[in-house]
Structures are given as C-alpha cells and as structure tokens.
Subunit: 277 residues, 2 copies
C-alpha cells in the first residue's frame, strides 16, 4: 500500500489506472481466513486490490442472498502488509459481497473478480454448494471476468503459499485473454507439500454426489437434533474431469456457466404430452 500511494504522488492518476487492473477479491471463509489473506498478497502483485468479504464464515451458502434482512458493511484494515488498497467486511453472503461491492463500494467496474482461496475442494458437485463459486458466478452474471480458487485442503493453516504461481498465472492469462461470455472459472488446486503442482488441466465437472449421513444426537433438553456429515462418492471415471486432474497432481480449471438449461433435454421433454392443458 505504501508503494501504491507513492506512485500516486509522482504519476498522473490515469497512468496508474491503465497500468494496474482493479481486482475485486472476496471469499466465503470470511475476511480473516488465511486463504483470503494469501490471495490478497498474490493479487497485489498484479493489480490494485479491493477486498469485500464476509465478516464471518459462509461455507456451504451456495448462491444465497440476503433478502429479508439488513446488510452491514465496515471499512477495516485486517493487515495492511497484505497489500490491499481497501478492505470492507460485510454481514452478508459471498453473493451479497459482490453485489454490494459493485453497486456501492467500488468507484468503477473491476477488471476481474477473484474469490478464494477456499479451504477445501469445490471440484465436481461441490460447485453447487460453494459460496466461493457463488461470488464468482455473481460477478460473471454482471459481465465481469471471474475466477474462484480452492485448495483441496480443509486445514485452516493449509499451505497456501505454494499455490501462488498457479493462481497468478491463471489470473494473468484471464486478464490477457477474453473470458467467454457467460462463463466463470472454477479452479481447484491439489493439496501440496513443498512441491508444485504438475501443471494445469482444463476439465469438465466430474459426476459425483455426497452419501449423506446424519449424526443424530440428543441435546441437554432432551430434544433430538442432527449434524450433517457425509462421504464424497465419485461416479465418473473420465480422465477429462476435475477429479481426475486433482487426483493426478494437476490444477483443474472448469469453465462454469450460469445458464442451467439442459439444452440437450429440450427435445426429449417436448415429446411428453404437455402441449395442451
């Protein structure tokens, strides 16, 4: 941030803006999460970073938005050394954060929106439940190039630093090329020790589901309650999938869309007897 202000003194504002892209950074694990702080540091090497992130963890929030409740936002400084130009916490969901950033907090449309780094996988069917990806999708709906990053390691202190090369490479390429219309990227990074990933693979979402198990307990007042737990079940042996790439040490990039129409199924349903009421 020191450098940024220093540059502003000596260079006309326009030059700064031309040289550095404006990067909106958000996540679903909350503004203090180590994955977000690492992402801010990586993005500060590429552009001017503004953070708008939830004030508390929002995992599993899917594409929830806050309709029946109030939203609060505070301009705060979690750690100036990470290099963000400005940071805002928001009481809402990841999708709320992006909406609020675009409409109220940013002076101009960002050049790209980056969400993450999520603590845990958002590959295959997890994309459906992912708050990280809902933020990216929300930006995509607004016509902004957007990428969600996840590290397949649920530990709070996962080894985020090792993800920097892959993340910066993908963001730089996304800024240089044109994101296809109606598409955002879902990037998952295999759990790594000190070694780097083998490379990056462009993939499709693997077919999978969760075999839920509810852990049933009784509270001190005698009332039954449940914890949702489950086991991931891969239903897809394709070598062009994100799960295959991750299992084989590659970073997976899935182009992800928010037109949910199953175009291939329209003809099939047209054959049902539905056309007259």
């Amino acid at each position: 941030m020191g450098t940024y202000l220093f540059l502003n003194v000596f260079l006309p504002k326009k030059v700064c803006e031309m040289e550095k892209p404006l990067i909106l950074v958000t996540n679903d694990d909350g503004i203090t999460a180590p994955g977000l702080r690492a992402l801010i540091r990586f993005m500060a090497e590429i552009g001017n970073v503004v953070v708008v992130a939830p004030d508390s963890p929002q995992s599993g929030m899917g594409h929830a938005i806050t309709l029946d409740n109030t939203l609060y936002s505070s301009k705060i400084n979690i750690d100036l050394k990470d290099g963000a130009v400005a940071e805002y916490s928001c009481s809402g969901t990841p999708a709320d954060c992006v909406k609020l950033a675009l409409q109220e907090l940013l002076d101009r449309k960002p050049d790209i929106c980056i969400s993450g780094i999520n603590h845990g996988s958002n590959a295959s069917i997890n994309v459906i439940y992912s708050g990280t990806m809902s933020a990216a999708i929300e930006a995509g709906i607004e016509g902004i190039p957007a990428i969600g990053f996840s590290l397949c390691d649920y530990a709070w202190n996962a080894h985020f630093e090792s993800t920097g090369d892959a993340i910066k490479r993908i963001v730089r390429e996304a800024l240089k090329n044109t994101m296809p219309k109606g598409v955002v990227l879902n990037v998952n990074i295999p759990k790594m020790g000190d070694e780097a990933a083998k490379g990056i693979k462009i993939c499709r979402q693997a077919r999978a589901n969760w075999k839920e198990k509810f852990d049933k307990r009784t509270n001190p007042m005698g009332k039954d309650y449940y914890w949702l737990t489950g086991e991931f079940e891969l239903l897809d042996k394709g070598e062009d999938t994100d799960e295959w790439a991750l299992a084989n040490g590659y970073v997976s990039v899935v182009p992800t869309q928010f037109d949910l129409t199953a175009h291939h199924a329209i003809q099939n349903i047209n054959n049902w007897n539905l056309h007259e009421l």
Copy 2:
C-alpha cells in the same frame, strides 16, 4: 388421509404402494406457506405425500446447506385436510430438507420430489438464487425425478388453486415418462386471474440479470445499513425462452442441469497459455 388408511386395511400393502407413487413435497417459503399447502392438496390426488419443509421462510437461499450448525426436525400436522400422509418441519434450508428426508425420514426412495409452489418467479436468472429449485436439484443429484413449481405472483394469498391443472398434468407426465439423466424441471406459471394458462412451453432459461439498488439507511444507533432491492433486466428477446412464454400467458418448463460445465468453452480456455507451470 382417511381414504389412505381405509385402503391399507383392505388391500395388501404392496398393492397400495404399486398404485400410489410416493411424493416428497418441500418448498422454500416454509411449511405454512399457502403455496405449499395448495401443492400438497394437488399431489394428494396423485400419490402418497410426505412433506419435509423448512420451519421458516428460506427465500433467496440458493443451494445453501447447513454445515456448521445443528438441524432440528419435528413431525407435525399443519392441516390434515390437505391430505399428506406425514409432515415434518426442519430447521434447515430446502436442500437440507431433501437430504434429511432421503436419509432419515422416508422409509424408501420417493418416486418424485416436488418443490413449491414458490410465491414469485424462478424463471431465467432467478433459478440461481432459488431455494425452491435448490431442493429439486438436490433430489436430482440423488437420482430422483424432481420438479420445482413457481407462480409469478409474490402475494402471500396468490391464486394458487388456478395452477392445479397445469401442475398435476406435468407431474403425471413426469411419472409416466423418464426424466433425462442429470435433469430437473424448473416450471414457472404466469400470474393468472380466473382464466387458465394458454398452454405449456418447453423453454430455455432467458438471459437476464438484476440491476441492484441498495437502499442505504441509518439505524437508531447511528450505524449505516443496507436493504438489497433491484430491478429485473431481461437481456434476451428469444421466443424460445421462459420469460417469453410467461409474458405470453404460457407455463414455462425449463429442463435444468447441475453439470455446470460450459463444455463449449473448454476449447477456448485450452488456447490460453496455461499448460506449463
């Protein structure tokens, strides 16, 4: 329910099961919502209805699930006259309700899962934010035919009775035919007076977004907060879209998928310089 018990006395259980499909009914407006109560009545004409629905409104919840909190469920009777075999309220989201129903509350896999009738549109981009559709998608992920129904009328006392013919027709066809794999149906019904819809159209999801406006206010303690409001912006003039069908008095049926891969974009992203780290 009287009839159902009566039949159970005189017919072997197997025959009852063969004759009547098991229908799981849920929604996102909560178990007391008039739209759900109407749906239960319609479905009780077709099969044995078990209701598992949120104990409070969950609109805009997208595909949220409850990971960090406990889930409660109670067997209750809101209105026996509606004809459900059993009703359960659940403290979680619509997706939680479906997971809990399938794993804990139902004796066997339901033949179909029906979600709704939502108070308001889930057409075009609204599908992304929809708790109603997230319940249907959750059932679809588990391999159960599933349909979300919405009436394009936000009034609590909307004219749900007029939707019965279309809804029963679509559910009967879905039970008779085979739902394409990986597909659930997103059905929206135009706001109607006493007249019926003109017919049913199989559609694609229209391109659209919401132009958000945040209504900024100050609370009694002097702190600023926001209400999320917005205007729907249709970006698509296609006559094969759900929005076109609804605007012209037709019920729209969009086959909707949860493989979010933008398959057409894989080649494009493959041309980026990403393959070596």
